[in-house]
Subunit: 386 residues, 4 copies
Amino acid sequence: MNLRNFKNAQARRIFLEKDLKINLSNIGNFSFSEDEVANHNIENPIGAGQIPLGVAGPIRIKGQYASGEFYLPLATTEGALVASVSRGAKAITLSSGATTRIENVGATRAPVFAVSGIKEGQEFIFWIEKNFSSIKKICESTSKHLRLLEIKSWMVGKNVWLRFCFDTKDAMGMNMATMAVDKAVRELIRPKTKVECIALSGNLCVDKKPSFLNFILGRGKKVWAESLIKRKTAVEILKTTPEKLDEAAKSKILYGSILAGSLGANQQAANVVAGIFAATGQDLGHIVEGSMVVTTTEIVSEDFYISVYLPDLMIGTAGGGTGLPSQKESLAILGIPDGKLSEGKQVLKLGEIIGAAVLSGELSLLAALASGDLAKAHERLGRGKI
Amino acid sequence: MNLRNFKNAQARRIFLEKDLKINLSNIGNFSFSEDEVANHNIENPIGAGQIPLGVAGPIRIKGQYASGEFYLPLATTEGALVASVSRGAKAITLSSGATTRIENVGATRAPVFAVSGIKEGQEFIFWIEKNFSSIKKICESTSKHLRLLEIKSWMVGKNVWLRFCFDTKDAMGMNMATMAVDKAVRELIRPKTKVECIALSGNLCVDKKPSFLNFILGRGKKVWAESLIKRKTAVEILKTTPEKLDEAAKSKILYGSILAGSLGANQQAANVVAGIFAATGQDLGHIVEGSMVVTTTEIVSEDFYISVYLPDLMIGTAGGGTGLPSQKESLAILGIPDGKLSEGKQVLKLGEIIGAAVLSGELSLLAALASGDLAKAHERLGRGKI
Amino acid sequence: MNLRNFKNAQARRIFLEKDLKINLSNIGNFSFSEDEVANHNIENPIGAGQIPLGVAGPIRIKGQYASGEFYLPLATTEGALVASVSRGAKAITLSSGATTRIENVGATRAPVFAVSGIKEGQEFIFWIEKNFSSIKKICESTSKHLRLLEIKSWMVGKNVWLRFCFDTKDAMGMNMATMAVDKAVRELIRPKTKVECIALSGNLCVDKKPSFLNFILGRGKKVWAESLIKRKTAVEILKTTPEKLDEAAKSKILYGSILAGSLGANQQAANVVAGIFAATGQDLGHIVEGSMVVTTTEIVSEDFYISVYLPDLMIGTAGGGTGLPSQKESLAILGIPDGKLSEGKQVLKLGEIIGAAVLSGELSLLAALASGDLAKAHERLGRGKI
Amino acid sequence: MNLRNFKNAQARRIFLEKDLKINLSNIGNFSFSEDEVANHNIENPIGAGQIPLGVAGPIRIKGQYASGEFYLPLATTEGALVASVSRGAKAITLSSGATTRIENVGATRAPVFAVSGIKEGQEFIFWIEKNFSSIKKICESTSKHLRLLEIKSWMVGKNVWLRFCFDTKDAMGMNMATMAVDKAVRELIRPKTKVECIALSGNLCVDKKPSFLNFILGRGKKVWAESLIKRKTAVEILKTTPEKLDEAAKSKILYGSILAGSLGANQQAANVVAGIFAATGQDLGHIVEGSMVVTTTEIVSEDFYISVYLPDLMIGTAGGGTGLPSQKESLAILGIPDGKLSEGKQVLKLGEIIGAAVLSGELSLLAALASGDLAKAHERLGRGKI
């Protein structure tokens, strides 16, 4: 049965309930406007998945865009996650707070083109370089919120990739980038060069795949967060010492990640990124990119220094799922008003907060491991009770 | 303010609403039992995030555990995703259906130990090998649903990792694995060998990080899905030809992923995995692992062959978030009864369905790219309308 | 016994022969000037290792810097390698010849600095950007053959890396780069910023390690080579068909390399690179970087297209081992006069020739595999006869 | 001109000298028997490349197979390498010596097969598992020095790889492995299953390519070496302190390698591996695999602990280039008699020595960096004097 043909979510639910002899009343319990999501966020809607939403924190952040104390909304079904982030946030807040910095790398889209060989490929790349300003102009004609920052190229055999990088203000920007590249290809590059586009996305974007290219060059936002945890705080709140934290970090995060052939080196960045992404309406496919995080630690005098680096955080505070009711409320908890493409400051604030949240998660899990407490925490709070 | 001190979600919401001057009524609209989640799935709950849930399909699956036609529940805020999977599912169903196979690799947990050097490290590893059956016994004493399958070891310098691999039946099993390893370490390995455990998880598990170790050895379930798309179907439903599909696949999926240093080689596996994971109560942090997929294509006679391989799918049909009301209903759409740790057949069924769903997403996006339709689909269905 | 104390190679040999009761007369048979190597290339010399040197080709090359027919000197102990490259060269020459292109990326050196945290780190990076022209000036004062092209930066925690990239004309340039960076750090960056350098090489160079950073950004020279092999040639010389070649390439080079988590995707680039490097006096440690090659194939009309892309070829035609007698003669076989730092054209010629040689090796081995001939070739020519 | 048609090396040299108007007298100066190499090691020989050979050490090794003091022969054109290894060896010997351990993983070869799809692929893999002992028998019939240890399998789409792993005693074993697999495929697997072999090597071997598969599973030999350097020795010989060594190691080797997307984490393993490989007749293409090394460091009490782990060392002491005159002499310096396939003990001795040599190189370069001495060493000993 083609589910597109039903007139609304209720009709689809009724059909599925009868056809499959099941009950869908919980999925049917939602508070967003069906029309709104059906035009932007989803097709064939039947309702909503409800993901439990808890609040960690508060955490003190000293960033350039996020400054003050913040509660952190996390949507998750993994017991212990909110508690873990809360504990880390507490230790950080009791120490120096989290210092954060952010850099706007940009949303990228990389079409792949078919050339006749490496000679033509090289000429094609030269043509692109020479005509950058016309390409920029046509790209930017598609949206007033978009700026083309650069185009990088790669070539193998009869294939050339152009990786366009855009400033997309407060939007995550993947769709804006796609539209802009599409127009530039169809109306300028293709007609002028006669070089054909094989695919508008050629996997060097790299969208929603773990990749060293994004890890090395960055994508979306690059975020750094750090904190100096006082020894007293380590002992009292984290139940361990700076020395034990640093030893566990070296063996697990550094040597472990190197031996595993991991992309990045961290513990549970994906957990925290997933929790905030699900709460605030980010694209869940981008959790993959957000998981490539490097955690560093150091003993400084008698205290414990910890930092995180997120080179590939694809986020927005306008567009996508950020305007849906519960998601909007989660952004409001962070003091972020949804729906306006202001000058890109809101998304930088969100990025710094996510950096601080990931830092909290890293600190707390490291402490649980160093103090031999991991299994106990999960037994108490976790999914173990089947 | 410590949010743990409030007696329930409502009290927390009221506090936050007053303190931050915001409204949280949509987050407050949920239908699960607060007590239930507060003990297992989340701490400091204030309600739920609602993620729009659409249904793709039906898709015909010819697997060993999943057999018949299935509707696919996807929770997402990314416009075009459900439509994309639906189109792929239609093309597959009109052709041969999707053939699927699955292998139960197991849930893994890898503590890291401190040895005095490589001599003692080697002896420690020999001891573990020799005492495998005692270790197995103590691990399996922690749950009747758990079987220790093997222990692999690595050593660098003064660090030894033991990667325990468990069959955990229908549970995703990460917590069961952690408890079992904890007990084995505390009550057997540590007392007998005097070797100290630095961290119960040493990052060779590898949990929720993209890693070549999991990609190469597998984790959770390994799934394969394939379909032979008739030329007629390619032309009529996918608006392109087998040749164009295969050309786009080679340039984008193969060369593009190789140049990008990607883990795996696919297009949007993360999207589909995220959609089903969010709908069915899987751990969203595991999307990262599920994204490492290899897509292959081939022209067979005049038709188009496409396959996917998912080496690292961490899923469950019991425990975790799978027992929550809306999640349970999504599993019911797939014909999967929640809550029972049967002989592990339900999770294998779910794995095969996810494989087929990922296959649908790969086929459809490839077609959109090959036919030059990507930007249009996103313009029509996507988030671009800010 | 400290071998530095002997006055020459002969004295060292005599000592070792007596002390170890062995004979070193073959190592003692060499024709370079001991004084010359002892000052530049080696310490504690006792003579030379003799590596058998064979000549493959000729191959017709149509590059920008290498043009005409070339014999390829290869030093190797692996039976079948010279024959394999020769066969590939023959098929290429009989078809269209090898088209080549090269890009001078530059020699890189990346010191790592200790900052007090991410705030100071960011300021340090801004300072470097602002003072680029002074840094350039001081770097270039160390050699008239050196130009600073750019500085890229990375930061995690309390560590900042600056990756300097230099044009070093016909020299491979690693030492020139090191001297230049050393001076810039000691005399400008350190005094002005007070930021301390932890290590002059911080492993983001990346020198002599396989790395995605070099693979993605390039290092030394980037080289491309391609050829269109006529069907007739494939059948007569390579004993197989374009279709079989392309099928083997897809399964082995593309899927195989993806599944193996390889850096690049090729067959035996390392063999050919090693053979030419050993013959022409390149640094053998750089074989590692040269091995990261992507081979592409395609059926074009009825013929077989093959290309290679070498993103990281660290080579020189002046300095290092290139001025030693036998190495100089190998360069002479390629029409490359040693010893002069001309305008960097000789090294570009060498790079294009290496690209064409790697292409020959890839084509020939692919043919051996596609025709089921690999084992036979090695049985006939190889080391199997123990 | 086809160089195969000349009757010997001299005739080829005379032709090239006339044709290219060059002199090849140094290449013509060699002391091995031309007949011998022409049948085993090279085709179209014209002579030999002479690579300067120096001797580092002695180093005290406390291994299972290598025990005592060893001089290390290194063939290289990179000034400072022998001196660097010597300095490291001295510091190690003055401290505790180098403890070493080795594990024989095996030589691997992985043919790729074409199946009709994943169902047949799975059945094919089951067949292989069931018939392991017949396959073992036919493989082992090809050489009395060969034992089949295991077969691992991977499948994507219509492709199945079988990775055969062999014990090949003192031979590096690649050719023996290839012959054995070829026979098993042609005479047993193909006839019984009707499944066709696309390529006898399917790139999961993984031969001479940097790959996470080999890094994670190992190949050839796995070697560990470690030493505890006394503080006094660090200060007096290495001109630095344990603290500075450890700090440089963390920033450069750990964070640097992680950020670079390196395979492994070390400094100059490739240099040392290349030097010993070139001296002792190993296959230079295998330097690539040997470069994937993990170096660890630690402060232990007041002293400095350093270790290396080489997971993929493809070496032999019989066959290949190991029987050539100068190569045989280098093996003799190590106390290794060439030419006899004894019970595989000689190659284990060589492996432990290489581990200790790599350890020396790592220690010394780290010291040069930590003491700010890198540039000076290269200026004094290096290639910089053009």
